[in-house]
Symmetry: C2
Subunit: 206 residues, 2 copies
DNA sequence: TCATATACCGTATAAATATACGGTATAACA
DNA sequence: TGTTATACCGTATATTTATACGGTATATGA
């Protein structure tokens, strides 16, 4: 009873895959069908062993209650599905339909977002924020409706397109600033619509 | 039959929450218990309406097969659980036990990682890689066993501690370099153990 | 050689579960 | 006023489902 046999590993992976892909664990019969077992006892035998080894949990008598117990499972947090938008339209508030180009799924703790918040993601184009170490191709995660603090990065709607800028207050007036010496622009924030405040950034290897 | 009623929204959210937190949908009885319904038909009525509005899917006759259908659901990819390690020990290969400090869950497409790869995460301390726009506090995701390309950022084991460096070849010899003018160090990579190659980076608002 | 663990089979069965049928009450609406 | 939709109740019932009992075969180490 040291490690796992090939069969046990295969069954454990099947359960985990079904759990992730279909959102629920398979029943004993479905496991038997998948592996060609003609007896449910065969399934029960394997599951008993996996449970004894602490890799599988189940509520007794409850349908489809199998759960893969990985060392990471206990640390796992709630995963949020954040829409990756091509551009943020003006009518954001209520009428946001599924104009999403993709979906970024990250656990809420890693990104520090509140569950249920109006969160969306944009892909950065251009290097206007390189002074804040935000590169072209980075994906920024923003929260809509958050009041920006001084120095926060925000997405603003300029010429019907979303642009990243740094937000700050000067003598009680809100301003936006690009973070690249080649674009020393500065514009009043009060005349512009702020779509969201950046809460996280994701970069992947090119 | 335009929008959702409060009851319908509450039930939909309950199903979604159970699905995420416990890894499986609730049964009709559990929904009835949650909302104080004394009849299962009440649950069935609500679910029928939610299904008609296209917000809920279920396999007929199958236990706990409810699934919340969100517009993002179709775009959702597989989510990987990446262990956040405090430090990378020397005996990485086989004997990595659960010394994880946390768990970063991100979909594989956003990070561009291969499912099943030896992936782990580290929190960056110090600003030795600021020239590559990697800041202190950032979480870097690394893949173990990947052969680094020229210019890749790698985690190397120096003085029993993991440090980020840029990897490059010079006259056929591998070297490591820090990306901060205040630390113009350079060291041969062949004498050091490279723990992983950086594939992604996650930054959150302080 | 005996004990033990894994890996299967076939047959049952109690409990869990989805779902149908037939009701009542209430608000919105035309 | 009648119609329609939502929101509940109570009682069944056919399936699904987990799980128990009693087997066989084959390794593997003591």
């Amino acid at each position: 009873m040291k490690g796992l046999t090939d069969r046990q590993r295969a069954i454990l992976e099947f359960i985990g895959r079904r759990q992730r892909q279909e959102g629920g664990a398979p029943s004993f019969r479905e496991i038997a069908e998948q592996f060609g077992f003609r007896s449910l006892t065969t399934v029960a035998d394997h599951l008993r062993l996996l449970r004894r080894k602490g890799l599988l949990a189940a509520a007794p008598g409850r349908a489809r209650s199998l759960r893969v117990v990985s060392p990471l499972q206990s640390l796992r947090r709630e995963v949020a599905d954040i829409p990756l938008l091509g551009s943020v339209p003006a009518g954001f508030a209520e009428d946001r339909r599924q104009e999403a180009l993709g979906c970024v799924s990250v656990d809420v703790e890693t990104l520090g977002i509140r569950p249920g918040a109006r969160t969306f993601a944009l892909e950065v184009r251009g290097d206007s924020m390189i002074g804040r170490h935000i590169l072209s191709g980075d994906v920024v995660v923003l929260e809509h409706g958050l009041t920006p603090r001084n120095g926060d990065v925000v997405a603003a709607l300029i010429d019907n397109e979303s642009t990243l800028k740094t937000f700050f207050m000067e003598r009680g007036k809100p301003w936006l600033r690009a973070e690249n010496p080649r674009y020393p622009k500065m514009m009043p924030a009060s005349e512009l619509v702020i779509q969201g405040v950046m809460v996280a950034l994701i970069r992947k290897r090119k």
